[in-house]
Symmetry: C3
Subunit: 340 residues, 3 copies
């Protein structure tokens, strides 16, 4: 039932300015916090709420501590410090063990006694479920798949056959892992299905968002390395390889055999063409269309932000003749003897 500010500062690794005996029982935003709550300031656009906050304490950077009307825990990375604090103050729901009688479990499975198999889960043959792993309900796990220790599969997650998932992996509702890739061979105008015989290999500490789809490989595996974080509504095609600690925001589509490096950040709605390579530490901003490999680190963008509709109409009409416009400019330059 709560921690003192002194304990909290110790455990999250920040410097306390204020009463170490003050008891914290909740977390809240600067705007909505009251006595007993701790808040944080990480994104400076919320700085305006700091002077009036009613929180008992605020986690923030050294430079904002002076503006804070209350106790502070000073940290050079206040968002990380806050994440730790929140996990301590609001502990997650207790884990369950065993299996609901409505679950259907195949042959030759090894399901750890400390795992929880919720109502209406369907588990195929030769499946391994690790210690403490929770299947909330309505989950389907295909034959020969394994989910490591400490995982959490939310409701209605589907894991197809032959998928290997590491430890502490969180999968949100409706996500599908290991569906067939979009492999089609064209014969005289009709499409022939190409058997999708690879699997999916997911490392440790991966998180996969709601209604996201990850296809199995055509022959080799689709791979998500350790610490990859995928948001909701993402499409990962067959044989994509995503490097460790890369984070991908919602609605991104990644085409087949694309290879994305480590520590990348891909913005929402971006699209990545197949059979290309993105190096480590690359940031792709939202709605960008990546059509060629990107080697170096850096930030890459495309797309055009919104304009008032009639302005946009005039501009895109010009865009459709941009090449002509450039040639007309060139012609003038030539006439005037300008350097091209």
């Amino acid at each position: 039932m709560g921690l003192t500010l002194g304990e909290l500062a110790d455990r999250i690794g920040g410097e306390l300015q204020g009463d170490p005996g003050c008891v914290i029982t909740g977390v809240a935003t600067l705007q909505h916090a009251g006595p007993g709550s701790i808040s944080f300031l990480a994104n400076t656009s919320y700085r305006k709420y700091l002077p009036q906050t009613a929180a008992s304490a605020v986690i923030t950077r050294p430079e904002f501590a002076a503006e804070c009307p209350t106790a502070t825990i000073v940290s050079t990375n206040p968002y990380v410090a806050y994440a730790r604090a929140a996990a301590l103050i609001v502990p997650p729901a207790p884990l369950r063990q065993g299996r609901d009688p409505s679950a259907s479990i195949g042959k030759d499975c090894s399901i750890d006694a400390s795992a929880w198999i919720g109502p209406n889960c369907i588990i195929g043959d030769n499946v391994h479920i690790g210690a403490g792993t929770q299947l909330a309900g309505g989950c389907f796990i295909g034959h020969d798949s394994r989910v490591g220790n400490g995982g959490y599969l939310h409701a209605n997650v589907v894991i197809c056959d032959g998928v290997r998932i590491g430890e502490r992996v969180i999968i949100h509702p409706g996500a599908v892992i290991g569906s067939d890739g979009f492999g089609l061979a064209n014969e005289n105008g009709q499409w022939l299905k190409v058997p999708q015989l690879g699997g999916v290999r997911i490392g440790n500490d991966v998180e996969i968002g709601a209604n996201t789809s990850i296809d199995r490989g055509a022959l080799d595996d689709t791979v998500l390395e350790d610490g990859v974080k995928l948001d909701n509504q993402i499409q990962v095609a067959h044989n994509v390889h995503i490097g460790a600690h890369t984070a991908i925001a919602g609605c991104v589509g990644i085409s087949g055999s694309a290879r994305i490096g480590r520590h990348c950040m891909i913005g929402g709605g971006a699209g990545i063409v197949g059979h290309l390579e993105i190096g480590d530490h690359v940031t792709v901003t939202g709605m960008t269309m990546v059509t060629k490999s990107i080697t170096g680190p850096g930030v890459y963008s495309s797309g055009v932000p919104a304009q008032e509709n009639s302005e946009w109409n005039r501009n895109y009409a010009r865009f459709r003749k941009l090449d002509q416009l450039a040639r007309r400019l060139q012609a003038l330059e030539r006439r005037l003897g300008a350097k091209d």
Copy 2:
């Protein structure tokens, strides 16, 4: 078994031109209607089908009534009048009551006797389900959630813990409400999960499309006000706030803490950056990228429509050097003494 045109005109509020005793038993498009059916003309691109329609009656605007070869119900808003007529002529399937024996129901729930809990539904503890609300089957409702009166949850909908849903809310199959937001703090290149402790609050008369995802808030709630309509495959991130009577078409992605006003229309595939504000009565056309706040009412757009591929190739190559092109133009203007 059918209504007369006279009754129908009365109940939908239009002016009848034709035989009030004519019995209508079905609804159909202008092209496919036959005797006994009523049709409508709202989108003028279908006007070409009006002269040949075999419908017994057509709901349309005053200016098209003269062209109609059959009885008409004249209305200034024929699409609304048609919607009412269709609901009267083709009544929805009867509601069910009670619970399928395969449903799994937690402790301390208050489920109205007139609600229907379909096969394989999984209901957590302390859940409230209102009068007449229908759960089709395979739905999951987490602990401490509530769904108001007159709702309809289609198959395999997932509602996570602590979600509050108003009255007459329709949720289509595969939608997920209340999954964790994409909250990650970066510590030395690795991502630390930020606990997602807020909820989702959904007003009355909201409709949510198939396979759409709505994340819970990080601390405060994600909010959909009354009358919000979401199409399929939409991503609503944590702490988004959508104002009353706003309609959002398929495949839209809305990033965290974006605030969208009332009576907005967001076209399909648009993307909205986080932490910005869109005012009331704003229309965003399809595939637009909104990167900054939009205050006033109006229509906003971006993106460039399709061109034949080789033209497009030439144009986008110029776009990539558009700044240089503008500077070259400026240089010519300076040489010629033109006003910039």
Copy 3:
């Protein structure tokens, strides 16, 4: 337990160069194949792996046969030949028959004795399931729907009421077929639901990807003709009509009443506006925005590929004033007497 190269060449219709008695027991990529495996070279960007492959045989085009260090099956369409070979060498899992006791089945259904209704499936009244069709588990089939012979519905697929599906149709997990279209009539700023009374009609040999959504028609049906292939995370709105043998990649959104021809290819993330028509044999590249009808065959594109962020910033700023820039050029041209 394996086929000889001689048998394989006969059955897939290629010309064998090498030992016809060599036994093949697996398939693999050029890079990872070992003895006993057959590989293929179709996409020339993988040609670099050909000289070092350890495969026992490679399926490839005549022009690459000489470079191959091992036996070859020469084919003018090696990807089709490979697809056939893979299906012979790695046969699909055996079909199941009957029904799991946990399945819930409505009244007046006709379910072929050779079909399999997996655990926790929910089947409405008056449903037809054809010979050999497999429902993996957790599937929901609404009233009055039919699935033809030889189909495969993977886990947690939802088919709503009144959907007609042809033969040999594969539907991947989480897909939703027949949800209500986004039909809304605006009355004084509030949205009135327009009843969605049409169905969905799906031809033979169609494949539908994971978490894809296909809405029912408003009055007439939404139609997918024979041989249509849809990838994951696609949105097909009400009354869309997709012609035979058209393939659509992931994350595409198709608005209501759009009509797409036969033998089209639509790239990932493209968006197609409603009430337009795309002719036969049209290719739309990834992330293209189609806002007008496209009559002829050909390739159509839009969007601008990624650039380094600071370059992009300069260019899109100019795009926002592109009409002004064009007018300035025109003014210079007029001054100089250039032909426009």
